[in-house]
């Protein structure tokens, strides 16, 4: 085990960095996707509702690994068939898109549930003062909804971080992929996967601890 760490330590840390980069990128886009589609679903506009529901159902209905294959291999092929020759997606780009789409769908549901958990009277009070729907959402409903959502959002963050391992199948050199390489080179599966597992665990436990602190801080002022 120590031998593996000595030989492959820096590569493993680098791979972990790639995992975190992929997580961070997908989460940022997923937040935006989630917010947009959740707002489409909480409003009363039927056209928006249709697209919002279609997105969530569509993406949730497809396994992440299939979505990743589709975006990495399928989409460039499709674009070539349309006559554009030099279109390429790197593994990072395709991985980010697949993860962001996937996580975004779940995030949309989390945010929608958060918004709907806020008493209707809050929106009414804000509207009755003359504020627009958008301003009322931004100033009154969403800040309260986010407090409710924090535990579920953190949970989703952790799931997404772990889901990056699925993207080893499209060859992105993240932590799990590095584990495959090392165990293939050294034939020491037990030690390699133990190390990889512990690395994931350390990051995730650290994140949850940090999240707990954030949660406590935003709850100041609430009874």
């Amino acid at each position: 085990m120590i031998q593996i760490m000595q030989t492959y330590g820096s590569m493993l840390v680098q791979a972990l960095g790639k995992t975190l980069l992929l997580t961070l990128l997908s989460l940022s886009f997923a937040m935006i996707i989630g917010l947009v589609f959740s707002l489409m679903n909480v409003g009363k506009n039927r056209v928006f509702n249709f697209f919002g529901t279609a997105y969530v159902d569509g993406v949730r209905g497809v396994p992440l690994i299939v979505l990743a294959y589709f975006i990495y291999f399928g989409v460039p092929t499709g674009i070539k068939m349309m006559g554009i020759q030099d279109f390429r997606l790197s593994a990072l780009q395709a991985g980010t898109i697949a993860l962001a789409m996937n996580c975004g769908a779940y995030m949309a549901e989390i945010i929608r549930a958060g918004i709907e958990s806020i008493d209707k009277g809050q929106m009414e009070a804000s509207r009755s003062l003359g504020l627009s729907y958008v301003k009322s959402m931004r100033l009154v409903v969403l800040p309260q909804a986010f407090r409710v959502m924090i535990p579920s959002i953190i949970n989703q963050f952790i799931i997404t971080l772990k889901d990056t391992s699925i993207l080893s199948v499209i060859g992105f050199p993240e932590l799990t992929n590095m584990g495959k390489t090392i165990s293939g080179n050294t034939f020491k599966s037990l030690q390699t996967w133990a190390i990889v597992g512990i690395m994931y665990m350390i990051v995730i436990v650290a994140l949850s601890k940090m999240a707990k602190r954030v949660e406590r801080r935003v709850n100041i002022g609430r009874a």
Binding site: E124, A125, R127, S128, G130, P143, G221, A223
Partner: protein, 246 residues
């Protein structure tokens, strides 16, 4: 009454929720400075009528003119009209994530009606008026029901409205807190605010209202000066209701 004195004019208002007809045919004119109290059994449509006046409920048919603007017309900028109509809710609906003073300052600052400094000064003077100067930096969760409702009134007044709507403002309060809220409302009425109030406080209606309107099953059954309606009700349904509550 002179035409130009009328600030709210409702004509043939109907409101359905699905197949349920809540307001069947309501017409009412309200003068500037008038205090109108809506009475009636629960389910009679009082609250729905009040909520139609600032378009929290969209009318199914009929017209509602407020301040010369037709709010049932889709092209009317309802946000602009609402700036002029304050509303106080049964359950206060204060913003729990903001302090008392932030609650009061939010709308005038966000709508660029007052600068931050002016809004703060105004909020403090309003808090003084409702007797809560010391609560400016408290959060709503730290206040009693009566205090919350007084803050809610101050929040509505921060927009300098011409009209105030009250939707059962004392129904969610413990009995000993009702008085402090009614006192603030009484003061507002004395200053000439146009007020439309849904309440079960008959004593308050008798003392403060210029007109009481008795509603039942989506219609106006009877309306007039409080002394007439309370002392000499004409309609059997009014008599029946008053017998139960008095």
């Amino acid at each position: 009454m002179a035409e130009h004195d009328i600030i709210i004019s409702v004509k043939n208002l109907k409101k359905n929720f699905g197949h349920l007809e809540v307001l069947k045919d309501m017409s009412m004119d309200i003068r500037k400075g008038e205090v109108v109290v809506l009475l009636g059994p629960s389910g009679s449509g009082k609250s729905t009528f009040l909520r139609c006046l600032n378009h929290l409920e969209a009318a199914t048919s009929g017209t509602i003119m407020v301040d010369g603007q037709n709010i049932t017309d889709r092209h009317t900028d309802i946000n602009k009209v609402r700036e002029n109509i304050g509303m106080v809710f049964q359950h206060f609906n204060l913003f729990p994530h903001k302090t008392v003073i932030q609650n009061i300052m939010m709308a005038p600052v966000e709508l660029k009606i007052l600068s931050k400094a002016d809004a703060q000064a105004k909020a403090l003077s309003l808090l003084q008026r409702v007797g809560l100067s010391d609560k400016a930096d408290a959060f709503p969760s730290q206040l009693s029901g009566g205090q919350k409702q007084r803050v809610a009134i101050a929040r509505a007044l921060a927009m300098n409205p011409d009209i105030m709507l009250f939707d059962e403002p004392t129904s969610a309060l413990d009995p000993e807190m009702v008085g402090e809220v009614l006192a603030v409302m009484k003061e507002l009425a004395a200053e000439g605010m146009t007020m439309v109030i849904v309440t079960h406080e008959i004593g308050f209606a008798r003392e403060v209202a210029d007109r009481v309107v008795f509603m039942d099953a989506g219609y106006i059954v009877e309306s007039g000066a409080p002394k007439d309606v309370f002392n000499h009700p004409k309609e059997p349904r009014t008599i029946d209701f008053l017998n139960k509550v008095l």
